[in-house]
């Protein structure tokens, strides 16, 4: 009987040598004439253990990691194909506390299955929702999503079902589903992991969205920084079309749904939905004034659902299990689960899908294990480059959209970037302004000019005029926050002022 060995093809795993490991395993198996089948799965999201190799045994899948190609001879010698003892062995994968304590709804298949296997997808609960949606009236699908309480995972947290209702209610000869896969926030990679680890769930979610609002065309706006995700997504679309899951006749229903992939070109602002639409139309990514809402006049002026990858990938679970079952998870008005991402200087970096309501401290210490450097955590930036830097006194904040905002934070796309006590918060504040200089679309003055001024003012704070410069910086931030057209200029003050307010000592050093 052949042994099954799993070696992830997720780009995080590839970045630390997974291909070499897979090749070494194949070579050794061949040399010893062992019958080994290597499956290239997605990542389990325990990124500090990558490359994480798993072996199927009667007791379940046994994990070894982080495995280097040089470890492979030793693993064979230790009988890892039978789950043998070895220094890198972590026991049954699903029993590793980091994974066992999660509630994986959206990420249920990621890391478990072969991402491009239609059979794996169906055998693990895939397509149930699409079949159900094909037998359901559009308005009823929309109401199921409303019931679930699902809110947009791209950052703004707008209720997905309400947006869908607007698009369903619009009359037009053509409507679109535009999936926002720009994932520009530093410290985030959940969209990437789904696109690489379970691409069919996104396609299924988009097809359901299309049925729900009456759209027959879907676009994925994918950032160019994700070449591996692009390959996987294109291959998945090809297979899904060949199998009749997408295309002229979705699952034999007579209904149409097509998905196209368009690449971004390295502009952070194209994650903002109206800039994304401009970019999809082939133009410069300049933010559009709202109204009109994209739901009514979106891509090429047609009614368009713009949703983040995670939002759309949550839909199949909701439709399959019911909106109420999803809403049973979470707290307050933050329903369901969020795949948080632990990044930066963290010991156990990776993906943690849990219901809303967990505290920062639990994520940072119970899951993250503190810093990778072993030094104290000084600050955590939550919610990407426009999110606040939070000090240890805020670690008991609960991750719930409203409660977290009240505490001065922003959940955004769920990324947590950890810094130890060697970080210079004035440098981080400066970087936030610098990032705004680089990425501003240029449409409005407070953002375009203000950010350049901000860099200068922060630089001068190192000198004797600090009090004057600090006052200037606060006024500048006030202008940016109140007079910018979009959240790029509007929220850049968040990281800047939180750094200043929580870590004033860093601004006092010359």
């Amino acid at each position: 009987m052949s042994s099954i060995v799993y070696v992830p093809s997720d780009s995080a795993a590839l970045s630390v040598g997974a291909d070499d490991v897979a090749a070494a395993i194949a070579r050794h198996a061949a040399a010893q004439e062992l019958d080994v089948r290597i499956v290239r799965n997605g990542s389990r999201g325990m990124l500090w253990l990558e490359p994480l190799v798993e072996v199927a045994t009667p007791a379940g899948r046994i994990a070894y990691g982080p495995v280097a190609a040089a470890d492979v001879p030793g693993l064979f010698a230790a009988g890892f194909l039978q789950g043998g003892a070895h220094a890198l062995r972590h026991g049954v994968t699903g029993a590793i506390p980091f994974l066992q304590r999660q509630t994986r709804l959206v990420f249920a298949r990621v890391g478990v299955t072969d991402p491009l296997s239609l059979e794996d997808y169906k055998a693990n609960g895939g397509l149930v929702a699409l079949q159900k949606a094909l037998a359901t009236a559009p308005a009823a699908i929309v109401e199921e999503v409303v019931t679930s309480g699902l809110r947009g995972r791209g950052g703004a947290g707008f209720p997905a079902g309400i947006k869908w209702r607007t698009v369903l209610g619009a009359t037009a000869d053509q409507k679109y589903i535009a999936c926002n896969a720009d994932e520009g926030d530093s410290g985030t990679f959940s969209d990437r992991m789904v696109m690489e680890g379970d691409p069919f769930v996104l396609l299924e979610g988009m097809a359901i969205a299309g049925l729900a609002v009456g759209a027959t065309e879907g676009y994925v706006y994918l950032r160019s920084e994700y070449p591996d995700a692009k390959r996987t997504l294109l291959a998945a679309i090809e297979r899904a079309c060949a199998a009749g899951w997408l295309g002229q006749n979705v699952l034999g229903s007579g209904k149409r749904f097509f998905v196209h992939v368009r690449l971004g070109a390295g502009a952070y602002i194209c994650g903002e939905e109206t800039a994304m639409l401009e970019s999809l139309e082939g133009k410069r990514g300049i933010v559009r004034a709202k109204p009109p809402l994209p739901a009514l006049q979106g891509l090429w002026g047609k009614p368009t659902v713009v949703n983040n990858v995670m939002t759309l990938a949550s839909v199949p679970w909701i439709v399959a299990h019911g909106g109420a079952a999803y809403a049973a998870h979470g707290v307050g008005r933050s329903k369901g689960t969020l795949p948080f991402q632990l990044a930066g200087n963290v010991k156990h970096g990776g993906l943690v899908e849990v219901p809303f309501g967990i505290t920062l401290r639990e994520l940072l210490y119970d899951y993250g294990g503190g810093t990778a450097s072993g030094r104290p955590i000084k600050a955590v930036q939550v919610g990407g480059p426009l999110g606040a830097y939070l000090p240890a006194s805020k670690f008991d904040l609960v991750l719930d959209y409203e409660a977290f905002a009240q505490g001065g934070g922003m959940i955004g796309h769920g990324g947590l970037v950890v810094f130890d006590d060697t970080v210079d918060m004035r440098a981080m504040a400066r970087y936030a302004m610098e990032f705004c200089v680089v990425e501003s679309c240029g449409k409005c003055t407070p953002c375009r000019i203000g950010s350049t001024r901000g860099v200068e003012v922060i630089d001068r704070m190192a000198g004797p005029q600090r009090p004057v410069q600090e006052k200037l910086l606060r006024e500048l931030c006030d202008t940016m926050a109140n007079a910018s057209l979009c959240a790029m200029g509007g929220l850049t003050p968040m990281p800047v002022l939180s750094a200043l307010d929580h870590f004033p000592e860093d601004f006092r050093r010359s």
Binding site: S11, A12, L14, S15, V16, L47, W48, E50, E183, G184, D185, S186, G187, T188, F189, D191, R192, S224, E225, Y226, P227, D228, A229, R262, L263, G264, A265, G266, A267, Y268, S279, L280, E281, G282, K283, R284, G285, I286, W300, Q341, L342, A343, G344, N345, V346, G349, G350, Q381, P385, G415, V417, V418, F419, D420, V423, M428, Y431, F435, V438, E439
Partner: protein, 154 residues
Amino acid sequence: MAVVEAVVQRLRAVPGACLPILHAIQDELGFVPHDAVERIADGLNLSRAEVHGVLTFYHDFRTAPPGRTIVKLCRAEACQARGCTALERRLHDHHGIAMGATSADAAITLEPVYCLGNCALGPSALVDGKLVGRLDAARVDALVQAARGKRGKA
């Protein structure tokens, strides 16, 4: 220019073709040559200013040929927390490679990038389109050495 013409012909009917065309040209040539702008404008019925506007708006597009190896080093927060700033300095001070520039020997073009989605395993870079993580000084040195050892195209 044959490449540009072929790409324009192949993609001109795609809705919103300008960006896909620029990508396709850069994929083939490594950059977008100056006179491509006019060909694209003609092919898409756009003004030259419009095409030029798109070309210069996006960080991805180069208007000059790159070095033999393209390194996109992540400069974003999570990689900073893991030491990318020191690597950028090392590339500059030790190897004479400045951010946003091509080395004098044309071996390496170093470009900034803001997050590669590998934020738990940084510092990260894309080296000729291949993601590498857990970078440190030794790995950066090896990478530069390998790039400098690569022979130029005849």
